[in-house]
Symmetry: C2
Subunit: 355 residues, 2 copies
C-alpha cells in the first residue's frame, strides 16, 4: 500500500518539500519558512509525532479557512516585561516563533518577560520555542492549553488538555541546551492507540474509564475514557497552572471552548492559548559563571551510577540532540506513519516527494 | 509518654508560642513574627509536615549557628524585572517572604518579575509565598533546590532534591486562590517512613533501590534507596528546571553542595537556593475579566461528573482553604508528631505549651 520509504531523507529536502506544499496552499513565504523550520527541526530530534507528520492536518485547516493565511501575529498590548499577542489564527509555529522572539527581546532589557497569546493554533513541539530562547542564551519556558482529553483526580471525564510544557536552559559553548517537552498526562494518546493496535492492554495509570476509575482497556479511549493526569493531582494541578497562564490570562478560549484542531470544524479557528517566558542569563549572572555551574551539574549527572543496562543518566533533551546530529549528517529515517502523511500532502498539492 | 494533646489549639496561641520560642533563641521580633506567620498558616492548611513541627529543627540550627540571627536578607543586584537576593542564611521563611515581596513590587511595574536567592535555608511550605503573591492579585511561582534524595530515570542513587514547586492564582473576591504545592518525587519521604512504621510495603513507584530498580521495601530508604521521580523522566526533568532557576542562576549551592538542614552539620549554613516569580494580573488584563474567566473554569471543574464516592473534583488548594476556615473558627487539631516537637521546644526554651 505504502510505496517504500526512502532511506535517510536529507533534512533540507524535507524542508523544501514543506515550503513548496505550504506555498501552494497559499501560505506566504515567510510563514512557510518558519513553519518548515520548526517541523523539520522536530523531525531531526526524532520527535516524529510533532514534525512534518502534522503538515497534512495543518493544510486541511488552511484549505478550509480555520487557519488564516491573510494575517500575521501582532502585539495587542504590551509593557516593558510582557506582551499579549493576537496570533491572528495563522499557523501555530508562526505564532509561537513571533511570541518567543518578542519574549527574548523584552527579557534582554528587563531580565524576564512573559508573552501570552490568544487566537493561537496547535503549535507543534513546545520545545522548539524554548530552544529558540536557549539559542539567545536565555532560559525559556513555553506552554499551551488544549481541548480537554485528561481526567482530574476522581473525575469521570476529561477536564484539562494535555497542556504541553517545555523549558530549555542554555549550557554554553560546546554543550547542548537542556530541553524538556512534556504533556501533563501520564502518556500521550498516541501511546494508547499504539498499544491497542498491538493488541496489548495499557498500563493502569494511562487512562481513566467513564466510571472515573483506571482501566487497562485501551480501546475505550477516547470515546469512553480520558488520559490519566501524570502523578494524579500533581499533573492535574500543573495543567491548571498552564491553563491560567496560557488561557485565562491571555484572553484565549479555555478548555471546552477550544476547537479540536484535528477532528473539529476545519472552517473555524481553534482559539488556542499559549504562553512564553524568557529569562536572560546574561542580565542576571556572568554567563561564563552560569555555564560553568550548569556544566558541573550536567557532569555530575552523567557520572551518576546507573542500573544494569543503563549506559548513563541522560540530561533532558540529550537524546534529541544526538538524533539531530545524526539526522543532519546522514538524513532522517522517517517512520511509516509520517511518510504516509507526506504522501497525502504530495498528492493533494502536486509536490514531488522528498527523497 | 506524650501528655495528652489539647483539643483545637487556637491559631493565635500557637503563633504566640512560636514567637516566644524564637525570641528566646535570639531571633529578632520581626523575623520571629514572619516565621510564626508562615508556620502557623501552614498548620491551619492542615499541611502539618511543614508547619510548627519544623520549629524544633530550626531552633537547633539557630542555637548551633548554622542559621544566622544577626543578618537580614538583602538585594545583591537587581534590574527592573529581577533581583538576586542574598538570604544571609537567616530563617528560610524570612528570606522567602522578603524575596516574594520584592518580586511582587517589581512585577507591579514590569508585569512579571524573577527573584533568585542564594544563602537561603529550608523555607517550609512553598505555597506560603505563592499565596502572598495571590493576595496581591498576582500569579505566583516559588521553588527551591535541596540535597539530593530523588533518583533520575535509571540511576542507582539520588541525583536531584525533592525540589518543591508551588504556584497560586488569585481568583478574586469571594473565591479562594488556586494553590498547588508539590515535590518532584512520587511521594514525600515521610510517606515511606509511615508505611514502614505500619509494617506495610510501599508502592512500586515510590522508591528506587541501590540497584537502580524499583523496590517495595521501604526500610531501605534513605540509606539504600532514593525516592522515585514523579512520572519518571517528567519529574526528573522538572526537578532540573528548578535546580537551574533556584540553584544555578542564583549562585546558591547546587545538589550535593547543599547542607542537609535536618541531619547535616548544624553549625554550617545550608546554602539552599530558591526562586520566586510574580505575574501581575492587573498589568496584563482587566482584573474583573480575569476573575470571571478563572471563575468559569473553576465552576466547570466543580461541575465535572465524578467517580462513585468522590463528592466533587477539587481545585488545587481547595482542601487547604476549607481546613484553614475550620482551624480559625475552632482551633487547630495538632497531630501527635507535631505536638511532640512543640513539647521539645517548650522544654528547651522554657515556653508554656500552647493550649
Amino acid at each position: 500500500m505504502i510505496p517504500s520509504i526512502p532511506d535517510n531523507v536529507p533534512a533540507e529536502n524535507l524542508h523544501a518539500f514543506c515550503i513548496e506544499a505550504l506555498s501552494k496552499a497559499g501560505v506566504n513565504q515567510q510563514q512557510a519558512r518558519i513553519t518548515a523550520d520548526a517541523l523539520v527541526m522536530t523531525d531531526t530530534w526524532g520527535v516524529f509525532t510533532h514534525g512534518t507528520k502534522l503538515l497534512a492536518g495543518y493544510l486541511n485547516r488552511v484549505k478550509n479557512g480555520g487557519v488564516h493565511t491573510d494575517a500575521e501575529p501582532r502585539i495587542d498590548r504590551e509593557g516593558p516585561g510582557w506582551a499579549i499577542v493576537d496570533g491572528g489564527s495563522v499557523l501555530g509555529q508562526v505564532i509561537g516563533h513571533f511570541a518567543m522572539q518578542t519574549a527574548v527581546k523584552k527579557a534582554s532589557s528587563t531580565g524576564i518577560a512573559y508573552v501570552g497569546v490568544h487566537n493561537s493554533f496547535h503549535f507543534g513541539a513546545a520545545g522548539y520555542y524554548t530552544w529558540m530562547a536557549a539559542e539567545a542564551n536565555m532560559i525559556g519556558l513555553s506552554m499551551a492549553n488544549d481541548v480537554p482529553s485528561v481526567a482530574g483526580p476522581g473525575s469521570r471525564k476529561a477536564v484539562t488538555g494535555t497542556n504541553p510544557f517545555s523549558y530549555s536552559v542554555p549550557a554554553g559553548p560546546g554543550r547542548d541546551p537542556i530541553m524538556l517537552d512534556i504533556a501533563m498526562s501520564t502518556v500521550a494518546g498516541g501511546k494508547v492507540y499504539a498499544a491497542v493496535t498491538r493488541g496489548e492492554p495499557v498500563l493502569e495509570n494511562w487512562i481513566i474509564g467513564s466510571d472515573g476509575k483506571p482501566t487497562t482497556d485501551g480501546s475505550l479511549y477516547p470515546h469512553a475514557a480520558a488520559l490519566a493526569p501524570l502523578s494524579g493531582h500533581k499533573g492535574y494541578g500543573l495543567a491548571l497552572m498552564i491553563e491560567a497562564l496560557a488561557g485565562t490570562l491571555t484572553g484565549a478560549a479555555q478548555t471546552h471552548g477550544i476547537e479540536n484542531w484535528m477532528f473539529g470544524d476545519p472552517t473555524r479557528p481553534t482559539r488556542h492559548g499559549a504562553a512564553f517566558l524568557a529569562v536572560d542569563v546574561a542580565t542576571i549572572m556572568e554567563p561564563d559563571q552560569f555555564f560553568e555551574r550548569l556544566g558541573s551539574l550536567i557532569d555530575e549527572i552523567h557520572e551518576a551510577p546507573t542500573a544494569d543496562g543503563v549506559d548513563r543518566l541522560l540530561i533532558p533533551g540529550e537524546r534529541e540532540w544526538v538524533n539531530r546530529r545524526r539526522a543532519l549528517e546522514h538524513g532522517i529515517q522517517l517512520p511509516a506513519d509520517v511518510w504516509e502523511k507526506i504522501q497525502e500532502v504530495a498528492d493533494a498539492y502536486q509536490v514531488a516527494l522528498p527523497g
